[in-house]
């Protein structure tokens, strides 16, 4: 027990205001009476008024309030206390590890009057556990702001862990039991198969992502969620754990849909004036004999050609919008792949002859019929054959092979190879994106909307097929199309690309 200092408290207080250590003065009830600049700085307060008249224990985190209260009581009893460590709360809600020492001052009658405390920020010495707690708190805060939930699935024990935001997203309380079934129950029926594939793909390939719709009890409309996952395996490559995120993308989807509808409307409206241009140019051309000069005829031809290109672009834009809005009609019928491809080739026969291109066609014997939509099937091959023909210089070769894929079930394989300009390696990953034309394509062939392959890929995804290619600049390209015997996966028409 040390001597309790007596003396002129007010003078002492004046001196400690600017003291380089954090000093706080409490009354005999543990209420803050004074806090110096250094204290304010540590806690993030702007002004002494923000802390004065508040109990000192207020500045402690919930778990440590009791400890701090006990410490104060001990100072009152013993006259002093040293190195009490506790977690303090800063103004912004974050935590600070602090050590405080306190000394009791009595008045002239010997009654406890004030406690003078010195505080040290010892956050650098935060224990690992507190760091983790702080990180968790920050994560939770971030998730709340972004409306991003995260989840974890312990596969061997089939136990789930959801963060708070996940519960909020699905509108359930934190006390609900979470398992596979509770999740799937909220998913719109048409998308349940997709959710199952998402999990399967993640287990097989280590990661996956998915857009899917849910119907939550308290909301009357469908919502779109986006989920991503990552799988962790043991040394035998058995899945141990899957983690992932989910967030609400309903708004994004709505914006996307509005944009596509706008595109569709605008494209439709462009057709009117384009028709007028085309028909008038056509009539002018028919009057060629009646006094048009050669250059006038040329101008009309250029107008007409340019107009036809815009028409092609608007048709492509409309096709894209219909596919993206799932308005593309799909009328399956039984067709002969060979017949359809041959018919498409006929349309390009004149260019093939003009460019002296050698065309080789190999059709496997006894090919079964394909069940699909005629317009969509023709569109696929019109685009691929047009590309081969347009991007192959004179006297090149185009080879078309149609067969059954031996490595897959009920799948046709069509490959279209050319000895044309090819696609530069650096641009190959953009080939299927919208409005993309390779630099060498643009240099060698005029026209082309950049939408063709994007459309082909969309159509194939709707059908349950796929497309891939290999290519070397100035050597040529080979495009491979996989087409199922019958359409599969049709309901996923909405999630494409």
């Amino acid at each position: 027990m040390s001597d309790t200092p007596q003396g002129n408290i007010p003078n002492f207080q004046k001196r400690v205001v600017l003291f380089p250590e954090a000093i706080i003065i409490l009354d005999n009830k543990g209420t803050i009476v004074k806090a110096n600049k250094q204290t304010l700085a540590i806690f993030g307060w702007d002004n002494e008024q923000e802390v004065i008249t508040r109990p000192f224990v207020d500045l402690a985190s919930d778990e440590d309030k009791q400890n701090v209260q006990t410490a104060i009581t001990r100072v009152m009893a013993d006259g002093s206390i040293t190195n009490v460590q506790y977690l303090a709360l800063k103004k912004d809600g974050s935590m600070l590890r602090v050590s405080f020492s306190g000394s009791l001052f009595r008045d002239n009658q010997g009654n406890p009057q004030e406690i003078v405390c010195v505080l040290h920020d010892i956050t650098p010495h935060l224990s690992e556990l507190e760091q983790v707690r702080e990180a968790q708190r920050q994560l939770s805060e971030a998730q709340q702001i972004a409306h991003f939930g995260s989840w974890e699935w312990d596969i061997p024990s089939n136990k789930f862990h959801w963060t708070e935001e996940m519960y909020k997203l699905f509108g359930v309380t934190t006390l609900s039991d979470v398992n596979n079934d509770s999740l799937v129950a909220y998913v719109v029926e048409e998308d349940r198969e997709k959710v199952k594939s998402f999990i399967d793909q993640s287990l097989r390939e280590g990661k996956s992502s998915l857009d899917f719709r849910v119907m939550l009890p308290e909301n009357n409309k469908n919502q779109w969620f986006h989920a991503r996952s990552k799988t962790f395996y043991d040394n035998d490559h058995k899945p141990l754990r899957m983690v992932g995120t989910v967030h609400d993308i309903t708004h994004d989807k709505e914006i996307d849909q509005v944009k596509t509808q706008f595109l569709s409307m605008a494209s439709h409206q462009m057709r009117g004036p384009l028709t007028t241009i085309n028909w008038n140019a056509e009539m002018l051309q028919q009057q060629k004999a009646q006094g048009l000069t050669d250059s006038q005829k040329k101008y009309i031809q250029e107008l007409y050609n340019a107009s036809k290109r815009i028409v092609q672009l608007t048709n492509d834009l409309l096709t894209v919008s219909e596919l993206e809005l799932s308005r593309m009609p799909f009328k399956p019928e039984n067709l002969s792949l060979e017949k359809i491809i041959k018919r498409v080739i006929e349309d390009y026969q004149h260019i093939i002859v003009e460019k002296k291109i050698k065309l080789v066609e190999n059709y496997a014997t006894n090919l079964p019929e394909i069940q699909t939509d005629l317009f969509l099937l023709k569109t696929i091959f019109q685009q691929l054959i047009a590309n081969a023909v347009n991007y192959t210089p004179t006297e090149g070769t185009i080879t078309i092979n149609v067969s059954i894929d031996p490595t897959k079930t009920n799948m046709f394989m069509v490959s279209i190879s050319d000895t044309g300009y090819g696609i530069p390696k650096t641009e190959q990953e953009k080939v299927f994106s919208k409005m993309f034309r390779a630099t060498n394509a643009k240099a060698n062939v005029m026209g082309g909307t950049g939408l063709g392959l994007y459309i082909v890929r969309l159509i194939l995804k709707v059908n349950g097929g796929d497309i891939s290619f290999t290519s070397e600049e100035n050597k040529g390209s080979t495009f491979k199309v996989a087409l199922p015997f019958v359409p599969t996966n049709l309901s996923s028409a909405i999630k494409l690309a």
């Binding site: 569709s264 439709h268 057709r271 009117g272 384009l274 028709t275 007028t276 085309n278 028909w279 008038n280 056509e282 009539m283 028919q286 028409v311 608007t314 048709n315 409309l318 219909e322 308005r327 593309m328 009609p329």
Partner: protein
């Protein structure tokens, strides 16, 4: 003096530049031509003039192409007259348009995608000329 090939075509189209282009072309091909710029007049003219074939737009004031066609088809003559839809709307743009196909037009042509020459040849095909 009229030198026609004996066939009368009714064109129902509200946009003048397109109407004029089709009229000129048909006349050049020696068809007799009657016109209307809205569905109501189109219906009246059809029932009065009994053309050999109708070229019908969809989006029109006063009465649209679908309503006109529905009404036409319920008439005993109108039930069988060949109709070619001449429009800029995609057939699946919405349900209304899809229903047009139930009334069995001979062709559904998208104006921006066809030449005047192609229209004439489709007309001739339908009329077995």
């Amino acid at each position: 003096m009229e030198e026609t090939n004996g066939k009368k075509i009714l064109i129902v189209e509200d946009e003048k530049p397109m109407l004029d282009a089709v009229v000129d072309t048909l006349k050049q091909n020696r068809f007799a031509v009657v016109t209307a710029d809205n569905g109501k007049d189109g219906l009246d003219t059809a029932l009065k003039e009994h053309p050999d074939l109708l070229l019908l737009d969809i989006f029109m004031p006063k009465m649209d192409g679908l309503t006109m066609l529905e009404t036409l088809r319920s008439d005993s003559w109108g039930h069988d007259v060949p109709v070619i839809i001449l429009t800029n709307l995609n057939p699946d743009a919405d349900q209304t348009i899809k229903s047009i196909l139930e009334h069995k037009p001979a062709f559904y042509l998208i104006k921006s995608n066809v030449t005047l020459e192609a229209i004439v040849s489709k007309i001739k095909e339908v009329l077995n000329m």
